[in-house]
């Protein structure tokens, strides 16, 4: 089979050069986190929604649980945290983001908290995550988020103050329901906005200072602009060949989602300039673009580069995805920098999973049409049911409405043991052959 022959040629992804800057920004951020206690900063642990601008404005060091777990996985240092978690009784079928992060919390308590453990090793990133002074839970859709935060609080002996923001799922069953519209949308927007204002009061209590609103306005103006730049660059990938891939946008998640705001706008300006230059010169994200694919599912953080190269080797440009294109301040127009809270609440409400299937699937189909994809690869992440919930329905709809083939593979967000390389190879090869067959049939 011709695809298998190509497999041996070893083509690699033509990654955006500018994403290297993201790597430096990420490293600088974690160094800042690891120094935070020494610098006398308050530390807040949070999961899910990007509440970090609220914290950054107040001078609080923020640690996003998923980001820490993803960082460990990307550096292939996640196993120890997962082992510590398992020793305490957390089972393998639990969200591996949570398991990894809870393992850090357990490790932290053992080595710092009660002094009963072994001497800590400064290179051990499991232990190195500084303990929280407060926890804020603001998780859309997935019930795991709130329970994860609650268990974190219990690991720290319930001594760390915790604040919960409840973000309802948008069921969308009324005639006026739709994306960003309808009574349910307005009501849930108001409800989350009210809670975010309560959260500000909680932050004020922790810092003992009035909340610096002007600082938040400045940060949100920058985030809004960074988001616009990111979306503009993503939109340019309708070009053929696509100048950037889903994997470039994966690498760009941290800057838009949880890095210090200073530098983020510049980062996306650089990215946009490079994407524009590639469009102008016809340079693609893969050396020979023959297939254009949509990626449904969350990222397999142990395998970002691996998967980017694998698809490049198949001449498949993975152009867009639910994870990258339907999340992370993806509706900047909702944000009024001078009164940003409601717009922030609304961006939290439209995380890629927080709309029920009729709305969610329509958005995905629209993206597939926009980027003119030939097929869809679906990552069934074993412990992230928030992403896997609608995947059979998405596949069915893609077949029915778009007439494109889909291919599913099993993996996970940060637990490498669930990933089966040969299953992915055979299924993706089969899908690409199906695309070839359709093209031949169409040309005949």
């Amino acid at each position: 089979m011709n695809i298998a022959v190509q497999h041996a040629t070893g083509k690699k992804a033509n990654k955006l050069q500018s994403t290297r800057i993201a790597g430096k920004l990420v490293n600088d951020y974690w160094e800042m986190v690891w120094r935070a206690k020494e610098e006398g900063k308050l530390i807040c642990w949070y999961e899910g929604s990007a509440i970090n601008p609220f914290l950054e404005a107040a001078g609080i060091c923020w640690v996003h649980g998923e980001a820490y777990s993803a960082m460990l996985a990307a550096r292939h240092q996640e196993a120890k945290a997962q082992q510590v978690a398992e020793e305490r009784g957390y089972m393998r079928e639990l969200c591996s983001y949570a398991r990894t992060h809870l393992g850090c919390a357990v490790s932290n308590q053992r080595l710092r908290g009660d002094g009963a453990g072994a001497a800590p090793d400064d290179d051990d990133l499991t232990w190195k995550l500084p303990a929280p002074d407060m926890i804020i839970s603001a998780y859309a859709y997935c019930s795991t988020g709130q329970q994860w935060d609650e268990m974190t609080s219990r690991i720290f002996g319930k001594k760390v103050p915790i604040f919960n923001v409840s973000i309802p799922w948008i069921w969308g069953s009324k005639p006026d329901s739709g994306y960003l519209q309808g009574q349910e949308w307005e009501e849930t927007s108001d409800y989350v906005t009210r809670q975010l204002h309560e959260m500000i009061a909680f932050i004020e209590k922790q810092t003992g200072k009035p909340y610096p609103w002007d600082r938040l306005y400045e940060l949100m103006a920058d985030i809004k602009r960074a988001s616009e730049l990111r979306l503009e660059a993503m939109d340019l990938c309708t070009a053929q060949p696509a100048p950037a891939s889903f994997f470039d946008w994966v690498v760009s998640i941290a800057p838009i989602n949880n890095l210090p705001v200073a530098g983020v706008k510049d980062y996306f300006e650089t990215v946009l300039a490079e994407v524009k230059a590639r469009v102008a010169s016809g340079e693609g994200a893969v050396p020979d673009e023959r297939y254009r694919l949509f990626f449904d599912g969350i990222m397999n953080w142990n395998k970002v580069g691996w998967l980017a190269n694998k698809f490049a080797n198949y001449d498949a440009a993975v152009i867009a995805g639910r994870y990258t294109h339907m999340a992370f301040w993806q509706e900047p127009n909702l944000i009024d920098p001078n009164a940003p809270v409601r717009g922030m609440a609304q961006n939290f409400l439209i995380c890629p999973n927080n709309h029920s299937s009729p709305i969610l699937i329509k958005l995905i189909m629209d993206l597939c049409r926009k980027f003119e994809v030939d097929g869809m690869v679906i990552h069934a992440s074993r412990t992230c049911r928030a992403f896997t919930n609608p995947q059979f329905l998405i596949a069915e709809t893609a077949h029915r409405e778009l007439g494109i083939p889909t291919s599913m593979f099993e993996g996970d967000v940060t637990d490498e043991s669930f990933y089966k390389d040969e299953i992915l190879n055979s299924r993706v090869e089969a899908m690409l052959e199906a695309i070839d067959s359709r093209r031949i049939a169409g040309a005949a």
């Binding site: 009784g89 019930s143 329970q147 609650e150 029920s356 074993r382």
Partner: protein
């Protein structure tokens, strides 16, 4: 009708819930409203003149459901989509639910897509239980559910009728709690399977019919003589949305064990708390929702000032239980999150417990039996050493 006849009637409904609903519908000509566990107030649907029933995991092997949800989902959610995809829910006029569990949401979404002709009504109950706005938000959720129910049925559901339904449901719960008391005292030596039939059927049957039978059953046990416990006294914990398989419960008791208490959803958890009968009925339901979690804490909710592990240890002292068996439905995330807290608390309290993970697809009962027998033996030796 003697005791066994009554339990037999309960068992029939528990074993064939949809069959019961079909017969009820044919008999009454009224609507059947299914709900997903664990916090939907059946009182509302009952007040509207419908039969509220909590939809149950089926014993059938999952077939077409595999094409809707992945195999790494709990047995309840996979069984529900399987039943929906096979057309088993034809008897239902609507489905209502308010609980927030990520697998349950995925299941509900799939069921709505698979059953376009069935109205699926949802309004998410807040799961953070001790916020200043929890009561108010819960009231909003129940008011929305009531409003949608009224829209669906095309008629109002009056406050006075909700209060009547509340009284009936409370009396049913009280009767079943009385059975739990008598089981603990030894005057109602009901097996775990019988207790499951009694509670599970109360999730399904017409409440007045169930209550009338329960009254007779309770009366038959009142003033009885306390029989001595047979073997070890154990508490059964866990298993939320789906009922543990009867053969598993029977196997545990065959190992020389008397189950004296539980916090299973198809057990004490379901009947633990009454709805206030006075005042605004929607506010009362919200109060009930919050009281349930302080009464029998649930790992599907978060409440920093309530500890499930402490509740379990207290319950065991009151039940004079010698140990606990934890039944965990495979892939149940809330339970997996909370279990290490329970494990640590039990280890600290030097209280023995055994964890059994259960599966929809059937379990190797003989191998589990060896584990339970070993656990029983360990607890007995421990008790003997302490004596």
């Amino acid at each position: 009708m003697d005791r066994q006849d009554i339990i037999g009637r309960f068992a029939e409904a528990a074993q064939d819930p949809l069959g019961y609903a079909k017969a009820w519908k044919a008999r009454t000509g009224r609507q059947v409203i299914g709900s997903f566990p664990m916090n939907f107030p059946g009182e509302l649907a009952h007040a509207a003149g419908a039969l509220p029933m909590i939809l149950q995991e089926s014993d059938e092997a999952i077939t077409v459901g595999h094409g809707v949800l992945f195999p790494f989902y709990c047995g309840y959610t996979r069984s529900m989509v399987d039943q929906a995809a096979r057309g088993r829910f034809e008897v239902l006029d609507a489905i209502m639910f308010g609980d927030h569990c990520v697998q349950l949401l995925g299941m509900a979404d799939a069921i709505r897509m698979k059953l376009p002709g069935t109205r699926v009504i949802f309004f998410q109950l807040i799961s953070s239980m001790n916020d200043p706005w929890t009561q108010g938000r819960s009231e909003e959720s129940f008011a929305k559910l009531r409003q949608e129910l009224e829209e669906f049925l095309g008629r109002p559901v009056e406050d006075a009728v909700i209060r009547e339904s509340t009284r009936l449901f409370n009396s049913n719960r009280r009767l079943l709690r009385r059975l739990y008391e008598m089981r603990k005292e030894g005057t109602a030596p009901l097996t775990s399977v019988e207790m499951q039939h009694i509670v599970k059927s109360s999730m399904i049957m017409d409440k007045a019919e169930h209550t009338a039978l329960a009254e007779k059953l309770v009366a038959g046990f009142e003033n009885g003589t306390a029989a001595p416990s047979r073997g070890l006294r154990l508490h059964l914990s866990g298993h939320f949305c789906q009922a543990p398989k009867p053969e598993l419960l029977a196997m545990i008791e065959e190992c020389g064990v008397t189950v004296v208490g539980d916090d299973l959803f198809h057990g004490f958890r379901y009947i633990s708390t009454d709805v206030p009968e006075e005042g605004d009925p929607i506010a009362a339901l919200a109060r009930w929702y919050m009281d349930r979690n302080t009464g029998v804490p649930c790992p599907t909710r978060v409440q920093n000032n309530v500890d499930w592990d402490a509740f379990l240890l207290k319950a065991m002292r009151e039940e004079r239980a010698d140990g606990m068996i934890v039944l965990m439905a495979k892939f149940c995330e809330p339970h997996m999150y909370y279990y290490p807290e329970v494990k640590e608390a039990f280890e600290k309290a030097d209280m023995p417990h055994l964890l059994i993970e259960t599966e929809h697809e059937g379990m190797a009962l003989e191998s589990l039996k060896t584990r339970v027998e070993t656990f029983v033996e360990i607890v007995k030796r421990r008790e003997a050493a302490l004596a």
